[in-house]
Amino acid sequence: MRWRVWFDRLLVLLILLAAWQGGSLWLGNYWLSAPWSVATRFFAALFNGEMVFHAGYTISEALAGSVIGGVPAVLLPFLLRRQPIVVAILDPFMVGGYGAPKLAFAPLFILWFGIGIESKIALVAAVVFFIVYFSTLSGVRALEPKLVQMAQVIGASERQVGRHIVFPGAVPAIFAGFRIAVPYAIGGAVIAELISSNRGLGYLVQTGAMNFDTTQVFVAILAATIIVHAFIAVIDLGERFLLRWRPRGAVLIADHGT
C-alpha cells in the first residue's frame, strides 16, 4: 500500500508545480516567477558562489545567535535546579520575556549594534534564549523523583545526580526546544536583514523586490526554507543518535517562527 501513498504525493507535487507554472504563464514572470526560472536561477546562484555568500551569512547569524542564546538557556535551569526560590523570582520575568515580541526589538538592536552581523546575532539570541530556557526547564522539572532518590540511595553526589540522572532525562526537552527555536533563528535573522542589511538572504529578498526581480525573491525564500529544514533534520539526527535508548514518539510542535 505504501507505493500508493507515494504515487499520490507525486501526483500532488506535479499538480502544484503545474498550477504554479500555469499561474506564472498566465500572470507573467514579473508577478509570479515560474518554477523553472526559480530552479535555474537557484542553481546558477549556487554554483557562482552568490548563494553560498548570502546563505552563509544568514546561517552564521542563526548559528552564532543560537549558541549565544541557547547555551545559557540550557545551563540556567540546571544551575537553578536546587534553587526553587530563585526560579520562582525569575518566573514572571521569564514568562514576560517569552511572551514579548522579540522581533519588535529588531530596530533597537539595529540602533545599538549597527546594520552588521551583530544586531542579527543579538536578535536571534534573544529569540532562542527564552524558547530553549522554558523547554529545558520543563525537562528538568519533569524529572522522576524516584530516579534521583535511587541515585542518592546508591551514594551518588549532587553533581553525579545532575550529570547522570537530570541531564539525560532533560535531553529530549532540550532538543525539542532547539527544534522549535530553529525556524525562529533563521526567521529572525532573515527579518533583521529585511529591515536593514547589506547582505544575507533577507537582503536578497529586499533587493529582489526593489528591482521587481521576483525570481530572486523566490530563490532567496526557497534557500531559507531549505536551510530551516536542513537544520531541523540535523537536530533530529542528533537527537536520534543521543536518544537511542528511547522509544520513538512524535513531538507536537505548534510553535514555529518562520
Binding site: D8, P84, V86, A100, A104, L108, I186, I195, V205, I232
Partner: protein, 271 residues
C-alpha cells in the same frame, strides 16, 4: 549555610515567609532592571538608551495626543483580520482532511514543508502584488496563524479517542454530530494551545509587518523613530508593543481556563 539549605528549611517550616521572599525578590529584580536601564541611559547616552522616565513621558504624551490609540487600532485591525481568516482556514482544513484519509496523507508533507517558509520574507513580494495597504501584512499574519492553528487542530483531530467516536456512532450520532459534539470538543484543548500561541503571534507579526510596510501602526512608529534616530520613540514603541502582546496573552489564558473547566487539572500542554 548554602542557599539550597535555606530553601528547604524555609519551604518545610514556614510556607508564608517563602512567598514573601519570592515577592520581595521579584520586586527587587524589577527595581534592579529599571536601575540597569537608567544606568544604561547614563552610561551610553540618550542616543542608545532612552531613560525610563523619558520613555514613560513619551508614552503618556502618545496617549494624550491620540497617537497611542490610532497606532494600536491600526495594528489590531491587521492582526484581527489575519487572525480570523487564518483561524478559519486552520480549523476547517483538518476537518476537511478527515473526510479523506488518502488525500490527507498525500497533502500532509507539502503542508509541513511549506511551514518552513520564512513568512516575513514574503512581505516584499506581497507589496508588489497588493501595494502598501493592510493586505500584505494581513496575509502574512494569516499565514502565521494558519500554520499554528492547523498543526494543533490537525494533531487534535488525529488524537481523538477512537473509542469515543465508536460509542457516539453506536448510540446513533451522525458524522456531523460527531464532528461537532465529540471531535471538536475533545480537540478544544489543542485549539486553545494553538490560539494561545497564535493570537500574540498575530499581533507580533502585524508589528513586524509594519516595520516593512505601513503608514501607521505601532511597528511603523518604532521603525520611523529608528530612522529618525529618535531613541525615546523606539523605546516607547517597544514598551507599547510588549505590553499589548502580554495583555493579549493574559486574556487568552483567562479564557482558556474558563472553557476548560471539565478537565481534571490545569495540565499545560507542552508545545
Amino acid at each position: 549555610m548554602s542557599s539550597a539549605e535555606i530553601t528547604s528549611e524555609l519551604s518545610e517550616s514556614h510556607a508564608i515567609p517563602r512567598q514573601w521572599i519570592v515577592t520581595a525578590g521579584r520586586i527587587a529584580l524589577a527595581v534592579a532592571l529599571l536601575a540597569a536601564w537608567e544606568w544604561g541611559a547614563r552610561a551610553f547616552g540618550p542616543l542608545f538608551f532612552a531613560p525610563p522616565l523619558a520613555t514613560a513621558q513619551r508614552i503618556v504624551e502618545m496617549a494624550g495626543n491620540g497617537k497611542l490609540l490610532t497606532d494600536t487600532i491600526a495594528t489590531l485591525r491587521v492582526s484581527v483580520l489575519g487572525f480570523v481568516i487564518g483561524c478559519a482556514c486552520g480549523v476547517s482544513l483538518p476537518f476537511l482532511l478527515r473526510l479523506s484519509p488518502r488525500a490527507a496523507e498525500a497533502i500532509e508533507p507539502f503542508i509541513m514543508a511549506s511551514m518552513g517558509i520564512p513568512k516575513y520574507a514574503l512581505t516584499p513580494w506581497l507589496i508588489l502584488w497588493f501595494g502598501i495597504g493592510d493586505a500584505p501584512k494581513a496575509i502574512v499574519v494569516t499565514l502565521f496563524v494558519f500554520y499554528i492553528v492547523f498543526i494543533t487542530v490537525f494533531a487534535g483531530v488525529r488524537g481523538v479517542d477512537q473509542r469515543l467516536i465508536n460509542m457516539a456512532r453506536i448510540v446513533g450520532a451522525s458524522e456531523r454530530t460527531i464532528a461537532r459534539k465529540v471531535i471538536w470538543i475533545s480537540l478544544l484543548p489543542f485549539f486553545f494551545t494553538g490560539l494561545k500561541v497564535a493570537l500574540p503571534r498575530a499581533v507580533s507579526a502585524a508589528i513586524v509587518g509594519e516595520f516593512l510596510v505601513a503608514v501607521e501602526g505601532i511597528g511603523f512608529s518604532i521603525e520611523r523613530a529608528r530612522q529618525l534616530s529618535d531613541t525615546t520613540g523606539v523605546f516607547a514603541g517597544i514598551v507599547v508593543a510588549v505590553t499589548l502582546v502580554l495583555i493579549i496573552n493574559a486574556v487568552v489564558n483567562a479564557l482558556e481556563r474558563r472553557a476548560m473547566r471539565w478537565r481534571p487539572t490545569d495540565r499545560d500542554m507542552q508545545i
